[in-house]
Symmetry: D3
Subunit: 332 residues, 6 copies
């Protein structure tokens, strides 16, 4: 099982524990990014995972590369050059206080990389899957073009493609997102999203209800999935369902829809260690399950259990094995 992902790998800086930015004199240092998180998660499951990105030659760039190698991700297609590693500062929320992210990622090596720097013919050799998120095309014209190239190559290779819509309002407007993403969706077979992003990017609204504190709005999810599938001819739509009780406690579940009836996973009441990367862990779980030929019911249970466990793990990467996921999915 060989999965290729492409996206930015950022330096993540965060105060320890519950300290706020203005209190800390130390940052925890790690590395992450939507697609990198998926790659590490898959590597931890035992899959071959490749991240395609660009990073500077200097030591911080090297440390970012090392963070992937450490967990067995193939980094041989990472282009080295450019000026800087994108940064994001992360402050953990608690109770009624929301978490906070400050991006300092403009001008990163990957965002400025030219589309011709990536040789998809080599990259996709032997690959079984390609995954990307809506963050990559949002990084600017270069990245959007690179994404398109990758998708065309994947199509040429006959490699299935999944996309986590992942709308980031700090990176582009809804209008831009809709325009660019709409052009990319025809290359996508498996669409992963949450209710909110489907609305923010494509204006797709659930038929009834909405997320209310402490409850998951299962009712509206099927309708969102159906609309997405009709509009873009996806084979599958997977939706993550988060209910925030507080910033320390969440409800979490998933839904997978292949056109007939939606499969809902078990619902988990989560005491949060960390919220970041939960969606990426879900994507990785889903890809792993689909490549393992799980049926839709098994697949959504696996993907949701994987992302549930991620909420108990520090850092961007989901440090759990496939066995640990199965144990929770089956008995948890």
């Amino acid at each position: 099982m060989k999965v290729v992902t492409m996206g930015e790998l950022m330096l993540r800086l965060e105060p320890h524990g519950h300290l706020r930015f203005a209190q800390t004199d130390s940052f925890g240092v790690s590395y992450g990014g939507g697609e990198a998180n998926v790659a590490v998660s898959l590597a931890n499951f035992g899959a071959q995972a490749t991240l395609v990105t660009k990073l500077p030659k200097h030591e911080i760039g090297q440390a970012a590369v090392n963070s992937l190698r450490r967990f067995g991700v193939d980094t041989s297609f990472i282009v080295r050059g450019g000026e800087r590693v994108g940064i994001y500062f992360l402050e953990k929320g608690a109770s009624q206080r929301p978490g906070k992210v400050i991006y300092d990622r403009a001008g990163s090596s990957f965002a400025l990389a030219g589309h011709a720097e990536f040789d998809w013919d080599k990259i996709f050799e032997g690959a079984d899957w390609f995954h990307f998120t809506g963050i990559t095309p949002s990084l600017g014209g270069n990245a959007a073009l690179t994404t398109l190239n990758a998708l065309k190559a994947a199509k040429a290779f006959g490699i299935p493609v999944s996309c986590d819509l992942n709308y980031r309002s700090k990176l582009w407007s809804r209008e831009s997102a809709r325009e660019v993403m709409s052009g990319l969706m025809k290359y996508v077979q498996v669409c992963i999203t949450n209710e909110l992003d489907a609305s923010r990017i494509f204006g797709i609204e659930p038929d009834k209800g909405g997320a209310t504190a402490g409850k998951l709005n299962k009712a509206g999810y099927e309708s969102v999935a159906k609309q997405l599938m009709e509009q873009f001819c996806f084979q599958k739509v997977a939706i993550t369902l988060r209910g925030s009780v507080t910033h320390s406690d969440n409800l979490w579940a998933g839904m997978l829809y292949s056109g007939v009836k939606p499969h809902f996973s078990k619902e988990y009441a989560i005491r949060l260690v960390e919220r970041v990367g939960g969606g990426d862990a879900f994507s990785a779980g889903l890809i792993y399950a689909l490549l393992s030929k799980y049926d839709d019911h098994e697949a959504i249970e696996f993907a949701t259990a994987a992302s549930c466990l991620k909420h108990s793990v520090e850092g961007c990467y989901n440090m759990v094995t496939a066995e640990e996921v199965k144990e929770l999915a089956n008995n948890g």
Copy 2:
């Protein structure tokens, strides 16, 4: 908006995480004290805040001063001299294990400061508010006299005064507290307290009910507020309402009473990061709201949301902005 507060600033020493005193080989170092906490909280809201106190000239005294300057509190009226910074050791509670405080504050520079060391004519120049707590007069005759002087000066300047009753049984007896505090109340327009302190200092009991685990006794609060107002002619009485589910979880709300009908805030279920300073954050929020001409309903929501957020912040100081408070008060 310029607010003056006066009180002791202590060195706070605490084991990291959930370690007990007998296990630790490292203490987190911070500084705090009821009035200082109010001052920093107000500075973080954007107000001008002044702390009046006395601290030694040595480096630990300087570090205490710096802890205020860092957050923009005016420290130009801090008298420098004396022998020691008062200390308190703090051990965080968890689940069924209560937190623990050991005071080592006798003989501090501020407790021994002479009342003539503070020049209230200069201090109150341009001030809009004066705040103190019941801790200050409890530190001994000098501090009580200094408090009285400050109150008389505030009256002469026509500056409104708030007092957080804040009874500390380790510092004085109920009898002493009642005697001294009764003499100071006539200078106070806004009284801030909780049900327990009103009883312990002034013997004021609610008409019915009492705090029971996991429930806030809203019923009795109005009667306490009325009695306080009748006895001391306050313009407003604000009461904080804490319900302790465990030492990791609390319920929290506030009430503001101006003589007509009590305004209760929303009630928050809090997962505790830290309990210390919750009351001070409430006082700061209330002062900010009143000086911002909020109506009583808005004021109690703001004050309670501010103190709710404080429970998610490490250290004595409430590291939140007015915007963050408003967001919680309005939508949370």
Copy 3:
């Protein structure tokens, strides 16, 4: 009150906070082991407590000894020699992710100690109680023989004996456990266990029901206690009752049965700081209570409150005083 315990003292290595083994570059260092935990717990209550074990002469062995001395445990009967301190690696669980233990204890000084290295005539001089757990005989033939010798000596001295069954599947099979433990039970007056271990070692099953998530199965406990008492002529059987809501939250209670009717303690909803050592804290509480001549009701409340508090304390040792336990048992 002088209590003797015997067992292995291990080096415990654990990632800080919620980090997983594969993420950490630092281990917290502490020392512990079932019987050592009981000894420290008793010393913290003010009892005289002795741990009998064997540890290498080198510095890691010395640090293990020091960890006991620090809290006042008598270490004068610890034999020094052999090659290594047993090690266990501990990873804390959270939410849906279970904790993890990796043992690296084979070949430890204690496991390989000859039974003749311990002079029970001296050790038991003046002793009021002897406590051991099922872990010790599971360490191999030497340790099992040493246990038997100790029990015979205790009998000769007329010292009451308690045993925490404590089955560890990684150390021996159910068959071996049943065979060896059955031979030791006739020396035991107070049997401490949980429902699961009684079943796994002796095949004793409750009459009805079973533990279900979030609920304590009180119903079946009495029947387990009765069967144990009938089979082995214990004077008392104490059972701990854990209900795991998640790996961050547990329900916790205890039962004590002396042949007439079971005494159930209050039931505690615990927010976990640490789960390890909860059973040992229970044993220590029970021994302390029985030696203090508490009645069964008081004893089970004390033992359960002690172990409840342990769940809020980091490390293997229960760092609480008898006063703190009583306060929770009486009012908590």
Copy 4:
């Protein structure tokens, strides 16, 4: 004594101890920059010090402001806005391994600030001195123009100006440096440099000899100072003299020349705690000494002792008092 400085304030990120970038999972967080370091140093001596710069409104920007306020620097003229705080990554050297700096400062709020954002008429009100370094004009056209404006305003106010040449090859070429700096020098009365920068920027070479390992080249310094003075009509030229024995040990001295004969300070053999900020501490010491009307001999001893002490202090800021400096200068 009121001193104004202007320059970029950066976020400094560094592995703890002697770890290299690729080994660390934590960065120490502090803030610094040539001119900010001078400001804090002066504030620690008791002077009034103002830093003029621009920082984003977000929390990292605020933390940078706080780092100055904490030590009493006036931050009221810091413009708030723009996108990012410049960053530099610092790895400490040791023995034969040199330290390492990675800049990630392009696009910072200050570098992009418009020259009209700073109101020099207000800033210079009551000021006694203006200090800048060659780093500021190297940040780009905006910053160079802002520098020129500041210098013209200083001249109009009759405020003496000092400049630390501080050539950074990563920020501009020697040609650009010479062109721009030459235009600014006529506004400068006190020039601070080391032998190397005078050569790199202005092509000024000492008459004889050169720095050799473990020895200070006193011989050539006077000739460099004379040439600088002749070329730019400075009133004083101060030169710092570093001899690197290893990256753990340095020799350090200073020279001050006012046109007649050079005054050399004592020479210090320094065991390095940190090398960064040594030159800034020298500048601050010199400004303090000159504004205190020390004679040249006293001034160079004070400035050199101040910077010597900085080498024993962690972080960018020189955390020493004027008394500590005098004690070393007089007796050390």
Copy 5:
């Protein structure tokens, strides 16, 4: 070998690494005091060591007791009560920057303890040696009287007594020191001091020379020892010889004089890890050597090697074994 010591045990708080007080947000926590350091050092050599002191009943007092128990010191004669543990803040020096100590020890339990609280008849049972330092009588009238009582009891028991003069100018004047100490010296057989303290307390000056940077003044030591011996009839006088190259490097040696000719130890060039406790390690080494019947040459080599090693150990206590000391003394 059973040695009794008496003195204050303090809480020691220190920034980590080379941070200054005003920079740190964490203090390392340890416990120490001249006589306690001697006791732990002796316990680490394998001797029985008892510390007599008084400490509060609260947890900080308990942690202080535990710090001794951990290393095997007998704490059974520590009186529990009073209000506070004395504190000292310690900032480590480096290179040209001296270390710094801030005392906050007034009003400690021990300083205020009544002389009748200590039962010397029990304490001295079986003791072979009594050691105290000049710090104890400097703590006030109570402590001085307690010291005198102890000395009289030691005389009655026929126990040899050593005293480390240890003058602390922050605790008493030279005049008080001379008056009080003179009265105690007749009970002392072994006097331990450095050149400076002999002068400051008793006005005894060396015949020639003085300490100069980087050189030990061996010449004057013999004359100081002779004068001390003549004045007070000591049996032995031991002098420690420190030459400070910088605050990172020291020269260190010792001299022992029994009336005939002085024995000088080897001279060590020390790279400092920590300077505190070097003298106490010397005292402990000397006591151990004398009780082990070493001759004067062996004794001074052992004592000096012990204290040399202490300079490489963090904290107040000398964490080295007698074997490690012998290895250095013999071969180092």
Copy 6:
């Protein structure tokens, strides 16, 4: 350039800073071993490096694997299985206090691995060099046989072999070492050692002189190299030359001899950050230089500079690039 190494990879546990084992409550966690260190060092130079070893399947084993992957070492030939990762505890020395190592490595997966578990035909495919150390055959019969197999295979493949003699008295006797190692030497072309090990294993003594404190005995090294070459027909003998001034300062140099005249490197005075791994860094440097076709003079300068830099780096692995080494070798 593809280099294969084989040996044990251990878990390394060490107190932080200068703490002794008995003081610490935290261990730094890293992984290392003679051959692994060589592999990482080579990978950091840009070479392809493979470590052959065996590690358990559990998480600690995985973390060991990850420590190699992180730096780009090929881990695909690591056999997974067995019970435990060997451990060594490391305490850093300072000044006169020597460092300390406690091994707890008996029974490790690699030591017990059967020789048939390694498939040398696959491992050596495309390899340019094989390196091992004397530690591996010392681990027992299995490991010695595995070594022999590897050497025979290397010979069959025509791959040059280097061996670092590396005698460890805690692992085997001199007699065993001589017997086993003598049988292996015929497969070795490049012998790496220090004077001491040549003597301890093969009884080879230098003609004259010996290492004295603070001086390198260059005189005797040539004679040792000659004798080794005569006895075992090596093509090259490289000797590292350490002079220990204190445990904080060392002299360091290297010699390379190919039969004609010895080439001595520059001599470095090193301020130690860490001493462990210095020899392995030398081996790696030498292998890199020889495979890069450096002449003997260049090779010994490169190897010595590489190991010199290692002394400034924390941990077992030499975290330096080939460029950094060259810069020191050429200019340092």
